[in-house]
Symmetry: C2
Subunit: 240 residues, 2 copies
């Protein structure tokens, strides 16, 4: 029996981290959804960096760069953080650089983990299959908003943990799993309505980005499994 846990903020990761576990990075609105979209459209690798300075340096070396701060695309960047930005013409066979307000910070926090995967509703089925076969403990790391708790990442974590536990090969003694599963049960019948009064939905709406919400909540639009490759220090698609 393997364990599944949930951590609600990158700042809390040190209090949850265990050896040899799989850490799944979750930033539903929108970094991890966008990274999955990029791989789905043929990106060869995605390297996440913590600072815009590092992103600018890599852009000057010729890499295509996605950069977002506070929901807005950074001026110097080729892409913002919208999953619709990463079209096949722009990303196929390319090595992308990614820096965002929350998601890439969560990756930084978890760099010492056994395995790091990228999770979103868009690749949930492929990811579940991967975890059920891996025979390792799983920690679902919510990116949140500037280290604060957020609902949408929690709902994904609850949905995912629920599937793992109901499958019978995972168990949990983690209070955050219990909370996330119960919130998922409350929200699942009408996810969009539930999310309407959350902090990040309001932030996206203010910037005219509500049309991306539906895509970010849709399940199984891709079967990619982005996994961190320690040799090249970037994510690659484990499932081609």
């Amino acid at each position: 029996m393997n364990k599944v846990s949930v951590c609600f903020s990158p700042a809390l990761y040190p209090f949850y981290a265990q050896k040899d576990e799989i850490v799944i990075i979750i930033d539903i609105f929108r970094a991890t959804t966008s990274i999955c979209a990029a791989f789905n459209n043929g990106a060869r690798s995605v390297r996440t960096v913590a600072t815009t300075e590092e992103a600018i340096r890599l852009k000057s070396k010729g890499y295509p760069v996605a950069a977002e701060r506070n929901t807005k695309r950074c001026e110097f960047a080729d892409f913002g953080n919208s999953p619709f930005d990463f079209t096949p013409e722009k990303v196929n066979n390319r090595d992308l650089i990614f820096t965002t307000t929350n998601g890439t910070q969560a990756v930084e926090a978890a760099l010492d983990a056994g395995e790091i995967l990228i999770g979103s509703f868009s690749n949930i089925g492929a990811l579940l299959k991967y975890c059920l076969n891996a025979q390792k403990d799983v920690l679902l790391l919510c990116s949140g908003w500037k280290n604060r708790f957020c609902i949408e990442d929690t709902l994904f974590a609850g949905r995912f943990a629920d599937e793992l536990i109901r499958n019978g090969r995972f168990e949990s003694d983690n209070d955050a799993v219990k909370a996330a599963r119960d919130l998922w049960k409350v929200a699942k019948s009408d996810l969009v309505s539930y999310i309407c009064d959350t902090e990040h939905y309001q932030r996206l709406k203010k910037n005219g980005l509500e049309n991306e919400i539906e895509y970010c909540l849709a399940e199984n639009t891709t079967s990619v499994v982005p996994i961190y490759d320690k040799t090249i220090k970037a994510f690659i698609n484990q499932r081609k």
Copy 2:
């Protein structure tokens, strides 16, 4: 209109703290419940300290000391962390020292706050009245377990935020408030059953302390409002 927010861990406090707000420290099992019990039975002040070394030093100066680590009473201490330890004979008119695994660490984290209060189900009515009159923003700071999220503190936070908002003088745009209120709604019809499979309940049960759970979940057994006095660096009872 004032704001109410919830923070799920002392380690996240810096990402939530606002100027001039009331911070309510919550450690339902059992530090904040026990501090309320001590005041209810006549304690003059409660000074929380972060380390057992500091507690031992103050004991040598003659102060009665409550000290707990990992649910167990420290050998050197006069009291553990059970609300039943603080009988009138032992605490009336005395200045107590308190150090616990989680609750006193949360106080340390919030020392720069405008006002710091101690919250538990036992003094919830008095505390609500205080906050509704104060015309200040309120941050509910859950102590958790070693900086990890915990259910019982979250349920209290949800219950408390729900009352403040339904009263009409408070609002919230904080995702943690939404989550805590919804978990409270799920749990409230049978709180003890809901809490049975949480981390801390299991920990207390292992140490034969289940009989304290019921007391820790009972509302309005006291009307004390412990407030931090910056001059004497200790909590006193605001409502005699």
